[in-house]
């Protein structure tokens, strides 16, 4: 058991190191100078003022140091938990900016991933057993899973928010409210959350439903199901075993899906101007903000690796074959 997890941990740490290095490199391949861009956005200042601002920001962000030194500084700060200062935020610490945005993104991602996974699997399992459901509702699942996140977001925004005025058009909470622990604020928060959540939920729901339906059909036609049937076991028991076996690829799929969903949430947040991490990434790209991009990607890397690790543990818990293999086979 320890060896199993030990090896896993080592793999994750190596992945983290490589990913972090790539994360540091990529923004610096972007053409353009972030400080020049930032200063040029202040219209109407004199060249002397511009020069003063350029000098100030270059010193502040340490961009005047040679690249290897910047790389070492990056690791040094990372170990101390300092993700640097944001160019887009005019020197606000990156950690502060990310922490302000993270609750919104997590509030979107976690319910969307878990609920769509649960609802999609249940629906897919139901569809595998009822032909009328399979024929009528599952094509919808195909359409949903093929729909791009941002397109669905735009459609929902136009139909439900603009045409029918059922939900707000954009934002995290109403522009006439301040964050307080009141019922009014909470309901407003939820109202703003519904449409971005739906955009993520619906697309993933389709994918899980189709996957589960296929897996259930496959399991129901496998040898052990036929054998149980021949033995006279009740339908419910067969379905229960089939369901459990069908779950395993879905759990793996969940781990793989995480990266896709994060990028999907990025475009959804842009459409709704939802103040989450995705929205911040978009702004960072537009301002050539190396540090904010690095910080956010670091956060995503750690999050995805952590989630994968959790899924690994869940696998051990759920699948007895893995437990046996761990004890006997990891020599």
């Amino acid at each position: 058991m320890r060896r199993y997890f030990g090896r896993k941990l080592l793999t994750y740490l190596m992945t983290f190191f490589v990913a972090a290095t790539i994360d540091w490199l990529i923004p610096r391949f972007m053409p353009g100078d972030p400080v020049a861009q930032l200063v040029s956005r202040s219209n109407g200042i004199s060249p002397e003022q511009a020069k003063a601002l350029v000098d100030y920001y270059t010193r502040l962000f340490g961009l005047d140091k040679p690249l290897p030194v910047q790389y070492l500084n990056f690791w040094n700060s990372l170990i101390h938990g300092d993700l640097g200062l944001s160019v887009y935020g005019h020197g606000t610490p990156v950690t502060d900016m990310i922490m302000a945005a993270v609750p919104y993104t997590l509030a979107l991602l976690i319910p969307a991933i878990l609920l769509s996974w649960w609802a999609g699997n249940t629906f897919g399992a139901m569809a595998a057993r009822r032909k009328w459901l399979d024929n009528t509702a599952l094509p919808v699942g195909y359409v949903l899973t093929a729909t791009p996140y941002m397109w669905l977001a735009l459609v929902l925004s136009f139909v439900l928010a603009f045409s029918f005025r059922l939900f707000p058009l954009s934002g995290g909470y109403g522009f006439n409210l301040e964050p307080t622990f009141t019922w009014l604020f909470f309901t407003d928060l939820v109202a703003h959350w519904v449409l971005p959540f739906l955009s993520l939920f619906l697309v993933q729901f389709g994918g899980w439903a189709i996957g589960m339906r296929n897996m259930i059909i496959y399991e129901l036609e496998s040898d052990y199901s036929r054998y149980l049937e021949a033995l006279g076991a009740p339908q419910g028991l067969i379905r229960k075993y089939a369901f459990r076996n069908a779950m395993l690829p879905q759990i793996t799929g969940l781990a793989l899906q995480l990266g896709v969903v994060v990028s999907g949430s990025l475009v959804t947040e842009i459409v709704f101007s939802y103040p989450g991490v995705g929205h911040l990434v978009f702004a960072a790209i537009q301002s050539n903000d190396y540090f904010l991009l690095q910080g956010i990607f670091m956060f995503i890397i750690i999050g995805v690796l952590l989630a994968n690790f959790i899924v690994d543990i869940v696998y051990v818990v759920v699948d007895p074959r893995t437990r046996v293999a761990m004890r006997g086979g990891t020599a």
């Binding site: 972007m30 861009q37 060249p47 058009l169 522009f175 006439n176 009014l184 939820v190 703003h192």
Partner: protein, 601 residues
Amino acid sequence: MHLGRYRVLALLAAASIVASACGSSSATSTVAPSTGTTTATATPAAAASATGLPATDTTVYPRAETLYTSGKQWGAPSTWNPFDGNSAMGVVGLQYETLFLYDPIKDAYTPWLASGGSWDSGKTTYTINVRQGVTWSDGSAMTAADVAFSINIYQNAALGSTLFTFVDKVVANGNDVVVTFKGTPAYQEWMQALYNMPIVPAAVWTPLNTADILKSLNMKGIGTGPYTYKTAAQDRMVWVKNPTWWATKALGLTVAPTYIVDIVNSSNNVALGQLLAGGLDLDNNYLPGIAQIVNGGYGVTTYFAAAPYMLGGNTAWLIPNTQKKPLDDAAFRRALAEAIDPNNVVVKDYGNIVAVADPTGLLPVWTKYIDAAQVKSLGATFNTAKAKADLAAAGYKLGSDGFVTNKDGSAIKLNLEVPDGWSDWMAAETLIATDAKAAGININPTHPDYGTVVNDRNGTSTAAPIFDLVINNDVQIGNTPWVYYDYIFRQPQIAAGAARNRNYEQYDNKDAWALVQKLDQTPVDDLATMKSICSQLQKIQLTNEPVIPLWYNGEWSQVNNSVWTNWPSDKGAQVQPATWNGYWQMGAIYMLTNIKPVKAS
């Protein structure tokens, strides 16, 4: 089965949350508020004010007392330092004020924090009369010492100001501040400074006046202005009315909205949606198709009821890199100017919400400085045939592909760059390229991302500017056309890099620069001398075409009249309708004192 029951219950629970959210929040969100629900949500706040809760402490803003704006903030508000050009919307103007206001339409200076100002007989000493009875938002009095400090702070090298290249000493003397100059004062720049320098409390800023002055975020700043900081978030900036604003007693002015909520720009379609739904009152973004919307019965209006709908805020110029062949040849630039039809862009791209620029490029407010007779004889006008003839006469032969070549026979292909995502300029450059190609000039319209355009145009510390053509409109309207001529003719050339924001075309003309400096040193009320110098500058500009004026980019402003009315217009109060930096002190503050709520709150 039991799974199914739980599922149904969960769905019902979710549905009930959503339903209750819709019910109580549809009136408080950015969706259009209806009359009935507005009063319903106003109840919590009304009850709050009935119990005496001051506006600074309320957390729900009543719709009838709140002004929603957008258009200035392109990122989250992150600094409230009035000396930082990137400070949040309204820091200078709503929170900090200036000594004078300047009205570009009337060309008049209004005493504001100064009660007056005058030159001595020799015009070498300027005395500022500091207004009495002005208080800071913390209750202390504003004194002449504060004013002197606020001007002297520009000696701080970290602010990069050129003020003290011509200002000698600034000393407080009783209720006045006396300013002496080195040699001949730069009158034009000084008058510009008078309406742009924020006045700050010396008590707060003396310890901050170091090389790190730009580091202080100054979040809950103390100013003299009509608004103070309420709250800010990643997507908004909120100001609350300052009940002790000096102008109420001194000038009888009151700002109407209790709260101003400035919404950070996300995209133009979101802004348009909010404006139409009634969630935005004033929008200073460029909204394509606004001409149709104004006439479409949505309750949205602009400064002018018909074309050009918008005031001109700056000129969009076509900037050639005069260090590159064939753009180093004035004859070629002239032909290029004649080949382009800005009217095409005005009609097809903007739908008439901008206007074609005068051949001098000077904004309509500076018409009196334009030598009209000279423009008629020397100015370039759109004429494809003439462009072709001029090219041939200058020695550019037509190649087999229909495009002219360099004098040495090499092909000419000019890249025209605009930032990606600036949809109006992206459409404009395609029209310009088509016009130029009809005259034989091969222009290739491109739209790299903003950072690349800046790098190509400014150059970097290791490379000279590599652009061929760009469109640029950096310099805004101001109190004097000197700002434009400084932008065109600045000498010496600023080193390539991020600080380079004048004379992008790298045009060297010592005579022109001498005239520009002479203009700077002309008193602003000496109209005759200013006109004479401008006429000479225009002659150089029209014959050499170092930059080619295209159209007057609009001071984009569209308003929704459902909650607030009596907005600036050419038929009503003729004040600037923009929340952009620099416009509050050009009279936009009167917009806030003029508007009235549609319903009495």
